[in-house]
Amino acid sequence: MDLLRLYGQEVGSRLLLGTAQYPSPECLSDAVRAAGSQILTVSLRRESATARSGQQFWNLISSLGCRVLPNTAGCHSVKDAVTTAQLARELFDTTWIKLEVIGDSDTLRPDVFGLVEAARILTEQGFEVFPYTTDDLGVADRLLDAGCQILMPWAAPIGSGRGLSHPYGLRTLRGHFPGVPLIIDAGIGLPSQAAAAMELGYDAVLLNTAVAKAGDPVGMAGAFAKAVAAGRAAYRAGPMEPRDMATPSTPLMGRAEWA
């Protein structure tokens, strides 16, 4: 079986799904089932003594039987990201953390310098870090040196749905780190884009908005599941090398001569 191995844990699905922006809790549950996802990203926000919405959300997530990957979304400093990760570890009872240190509010571009620093601190504290990063090779090297065993480059800005904006960079990253699990995190808008990422040899895709904001989130979740599986199967099957010139696929030998 073609399992995805992340920090020693094996999962069958290569589609990681975010839990935000769905029209309803029921829609979220149905979308998770349609996607077949086994890892869901979650966050932490202020709890109200009266609303207690966090408790209701947690009951829903617990009922889905998936592993959770808490994030540090919204953190713009190393200190905020580290503290948020510490709270998440206790709250979700996991050492996994999707580390986001945001460098720019318009593009939600990672602050890669802060990211490396936070990754090192958290690794030393026993966390297993999933860093939201760019396709920069130097930053990837530093993250691995800091103790990360997984890299999660963006395809495009979070929530933009622009797809693989820099395929060369993603292909290069794949080539440089053949043994490191690589997960596309952010920017995917269509199933075809997810398939393209998987055809490049990426190990998994993490997305949220493309499903949650679709006209039919459950239908789109199913479409993404098929696309990720197809892209993975294509990668394993060994795609042909592209050529600049045409090559006839029909044999010329035995061709009729028409005078």
């Binding site: 975010g18 839990t19 935000a20 922006q21 769905y22 979220l28 990203t41 979650v42 966050s43 932490l44 926000r45 202020r46 709890e47 109200s48 003594a49 207690r52 919405s53 966090g54 408790q55 959300f57 947690w58 997530i61 808490p70 994030n71 979304a73 200190k79 503290t83 510490q86 709270l87 998440a88 206790e90 709250l91 979700f92 979070i158 929530g159 949220n208 908005t209």
Partner: protein, 64 residues
């Protein structure tokens, strides 16, 4: 004496555990920090609160 809880000024409490109890959140699935420092469940009773302290009480929420 007043403390700030999730950005709102609140009545005082002698320690973090007591504050959560007063808010009805003692058994809730929440994580806490005081003045930017994580405070684990086991350390809440031993974490005194003083005037002006900034308390964060966070719960699981949707995320991408």
């Amino acid at each position: 004496m007043s403390i700030v809880v999730n950005g709102q000024t609140q009545e005082d409490a002698t320690n973090l555990s007591e504050l959560l109890h007063r808010m009805g959140l003692n058994g809730a699935v929440v994580a806490t920090a005081v003045n930017g420092q994580f405070v684990s469940v086991s350390n809440r009773p031993d974490t005194p609160l003083r005037a002006g302290d900034q308390v964060e009480i966070l719960a699981p929420m949707q995320g991408g």
